[in-house]
Symmetry: C2
Subunit: 162 residues, 2 copies
DNA sequence: CACAATTCAGTTGTGCACAACTAGCTAGTA
DNA sequence: TACTAGCTAGTTGTGCACAACTGAATTGTG
């Protein structure tokens, strides 16, 4: 390691390694920074960003089993169970065991949860207002991140050999 | 919502809003996916990714006050204090109050902490091996994320008016 | 000098993320 | 039928992130 030779190829490798670590750090930072912006925008709704994501999936799909929400958000029950219990405690959702399959718990919106959709539509407007990002660049970024994530959690968890 | 009018401008706005939220989610997912890859790569070193970041700053800069580490990693004392205490408990760093300014706590590497740098140099190699990402794309991604973060935490926390 | 404002690290409380595990249910099989 | 294997949600424990606060040390100002 630390090849101080007169060669040129080796330092290029070192730069690549530094770059990987910088990208991961940048990702980490950007994610937290975005979290801060959403925290602000969601304050009135009394939702955290992950709770908002769960509400979005329910607003879009209607009643869903916990399993499916987990697939859509890439979260496991260890994260979702308490999160959904908090949403239930806030009166936004209702959880009932499925009659067809008692293992499954169906989550559906209450009236209050459904009603929250209207004020929630202001959230992306606020985000757009405080960030003012370039749509074209966002599109590129989105594509890169999706490809990155796909590659990372395929290679990262080889237990998915089915 | 869902403007089914024959107009074109309104749907474009709606697409932008959807895009913002998708980018944020993609960021969130990518960050967690990268976290999983690092978790694997750091298992042998008994470090979490944030602990690894703290060690990187110390390997690079030597002795640092907690304040400076927080600036470099964009973390506050509420996160850093327990993290550094865990690194101290693991015997990797030593914390001492600065004689010049008793408010400040200086963090420096122990022999074990310094020695860990050698095996840690394998970490980026492993990351590179499991991800196999395109350097050019990484460079673009890095630039976009940095600009994004800069814009987000300027606008997100206006308390930095100095 | 005195005293008010600021700085720095730490603590507390809440919530997310994830690993490891438990408990109940379902389905497939001997 | 009984038994096993796998699925689903939930629980426990650890660690990060952040807001709000505390307490000690320092700095600035009258």
């Amino acid at each position: 390691m630390t090849p101080r030779t007169a060669d040129d190829a080796a330092p290029a490798t070192e730069d690549l390694l530094r770059l990987e670590h910088q990208v991961c750090f940048a990702l980490h930072s950007a994610s937290r920074a975005f979290g801060g912006v959403y925290r602000e925008a969601l304050r009135d709704l009394d939702l955290t960003y992950p709770q908002y994501l769960a509400m979005l999936t329910l607003w879009e799909h209607g009643e869903l089993p916990v399993k499916r929400i987990g697939e859509l958000l890439r979260l496991d029950s260890g994260t979702l169970s308490p999160l959904l219990k908090r949403l239930e405690a806030a009166g936004l959702v209702q959880r009932t065991r499925s009659p067809q399959d008692e293992r499954s718990v169906l989550v559906r919106l209450t009236a209050a949860g459904t009603a929250l959709r209207l004020p929630a539509q202001e959230v992306p407007l606020r985000i757009a207002a405080t960030t003012g990002l370039d749509p074209a660049e966002l599109r590129v970024l989105h594509g890169m991140l999706q490809r990155l994530t796909d590659r990372l959690d395929v290679t990262g968890s080889p237990a998915n050999a089915k």
